[in-house]
């Protein structure tokens, strides 16, 4: 097999993919946007910080340590490009930028392990300073030893809601309340699927125990009404409707918000991979076979960047995708059957999590018109609805062209899902028919100076 194999990402999937390639005698190029390996979940703290693995990663400390050690052992046997962004993918080449230098690398096989970010549903006032994603709140603590505020409300749903709440409590942060939009009944009905991995379920229950012991107020079945505050000073209160319907208000100076995760699929999109609407996840996902082969020859997808199944699944999927790449390159590989079987178990557990912590699509139609949907450019739900009503735009990219929702600097990462729900509700069509925003290069903003440099390079 030709040696030009590129792995994007150094989270659980990327590291295990690289490891499988190295074991087989290849020398992959591993590209990492971060300063240090680990991805988001096993993100390493900066050099010189002293907290233990146990403090940083809790029940996952052994896994984090194992992944970091594996990567350390790989470093001399791979070409590692850290602090390097893949900003575009064209036919068999990735386009990179690092600091002020730009380059293109060709590949025979590309394994994209791009990870996930928080899935967001807007709430009135979420643009006020002091509102962060749940993942962001976790990064502040894990990577920098900071709480996002002195009185923190955590709101949304998903395993991260309780994990971050428990981590904040353990670190000594003041958690004012946890508002979960999911109900206890939803949790209970998901139990059979969650029992696919009893140890993981047990860890989840232990997190609840941490919160109970710290006497953190946890409310389930809530509907977020408003984050109040001021444009100058940021958030001051969170108001929700409790499950009973009663309004309830809590004072705070920071809010962590998130509704489980969404894969970072822009690179798969730029690589030309086919997507399909996943009814269970209620989102567009790149199509892959069991091992991570995309619809594009030579492009493989693995981990939460392709489908949310969690870090443990991502480790196995990364390896499996690397095996698939090598097999397609004519190499003899083994071990896939056991990995596929393990992934089946994680798929079942992931389905349980989706059922326990469902995406609250219905909230989109209930957002007051003045709610900002696009934080980048402060575009409201009312404006998006007006566009649907007046132009008849029922497709995401068309509505984006008229409203600019999804055109801002985050490129729709944090508004696209909710925006699609707003469009679907306003147009009375299923959200699947709204489609998805097409990925655009560069996947993240590049400094102007670099764009100039690229043109120079093109004329050489």
């Amino acid at each position: 097999m030709a040696a030009r194999v590129i792995v994007i990402g150094t989270g659980p999937a990327g590291v295990r993919a690289a490891e499988a390639l190295v074991e087989a005698g290849l020398r992959p190029t591993v590209i990492d946007e971060g300063r240090r390996d680990g991805g988001q979940i096993y993100r390493r703290q900066p050099e010189g910080f002293t907290r233990s693995y146990e403090t940083l990663y809790g029940t996952e400390s052994a896994r984090a340590a194992a992944l970091h050690q594996s990567f350390d052992a790989l470093k001399s046997r791979i070409d590692y490009l850290s602090e390097t962004l893949v900003w575009n993918i064209s036919a068999n080449a990735v386009h990179l930028v690092s600091g002020t230098s730009y380059r293109t690398l060709e590949f025979d096989a590309l394994i994209i392990c791009s990870g996930a970010t928080d899935r967001l549903m807007p709430v009135k006032g979420w643009h006020y300073a002091g509102t962060y994603s749940l993942g962001g709140a976790q990064v502040a603590l894990k990577s920098q030893g900071c709480s996002i505020g002195s009185r923190v409300v955590l709101m949304g749903t998903g395993p991260l809601l309780y994990l971050v709440a428990a981590q904040y409590v353990k670190a000594g942060a003041a958690v004012s309340a946890v508002f979960d939009t999911s109900t206890l009944l939803q949790r209970l009905s998901a139990l059979p699927k969650l029992l696919a991995i009893p140890a993981a379920l047990k860890k989840g229950i232990a997190l609840m125990g941490v919160l109970r012991k710290a006497q953190v107020r946890v409310y389930r079945g809530v509907r977020p009404l408003e984050i109040s505050g001021s444009p100058e000073h940021g958030v001051s209160h969170v108001e929700v409707a409790l499950q009973s319907g009663m309004p309830f208000k809590v004072a705070c100076d920071a809010v962590a918000l998130g509704y489980h995760l969404r894969p970072e699929t822009q690179l798969a999109d730029l690589a030309g991979c086919d997507f399909s609407f996943d009814d269970a996840a209620q989102q567009w996902l790149p199509a892959t076979d069991e091992d991570g082969r995309s619809s594009v020859k030579g492009v493989y997808l693995a981990g939460d960047g392709a489908r949310i199944r969690g870090a443990d699944a991502a480790e196995r999927w990364g390896r499996l995708a690397a095996l698939a790449a090598m097999q397609d390159g004519g190499m003899k590989v083994e071990g896939q059957v056991a990995l596929r079987e393990q992934l089946q178990v994680f798929s079942r557990f992931a389905a349980g999590l989706r059922a326990a912590f469902p995406w609250p699509a219905r909230f989109a139609s209930m957002l007051p018109d003045e709610t900002i949907v696009c934080r980048c450019e402060a575009i409201t739900a009312g404006e998006l609805r007006r566009v649907v009503r007046e132009t008849g735009a029922k497709e995401a990219n068309r509505a984006k062209a008229f409203s600019r929702v999804g055109m801002g600097r985050c490129q729709g990462r944090f508004c696209a899902h909710a925006g699609a729900e707003v469009i679907a509700a306003a147009a009375s069509v299923p959200v699947a028919s709204v489609g998805r925003l097409r990925g655009q290069a560069p996947v993240k903003p590049l400094p102007v100076a670099l764009a100039e440099k690229e043109e120079e390079g093109a004329t050489e």
Binding site: F49, T55, T117, G136, C146, A173, E232, G234, E264, A449
Partner: protein, 104 residues
Amino acid sequence: MSGRFVRLAETERKTFVITVDGVARQAAEGDTLMVALLTGMRALRDSEFGDGRRAGFCLMGACQDCWVWTADGDRLRACTTPAVAGMSIVTQLASAGEGVWPRG
């Protein structure tokens, strides 16, 4: 001015000085620029769309809400940029005067 972020751990690190809106402030070794700024103040920039001050959102380089400008007019993403001694950062473009013009 009180900070937005609260330091809970790793508080024994050496500190150094950065300049923020013309005022000298302390940062700690290993701080991202975002943390160095938000442990001493409550926001990073003004929204260009008139909805007030912003203080970042995702902390992992995805949302681009934490952009700040250097006194020379270069744009930095505060959550992924390490704070470095001697940096001069502008969070209030309107009051920074004519010398500062965001380039990108």
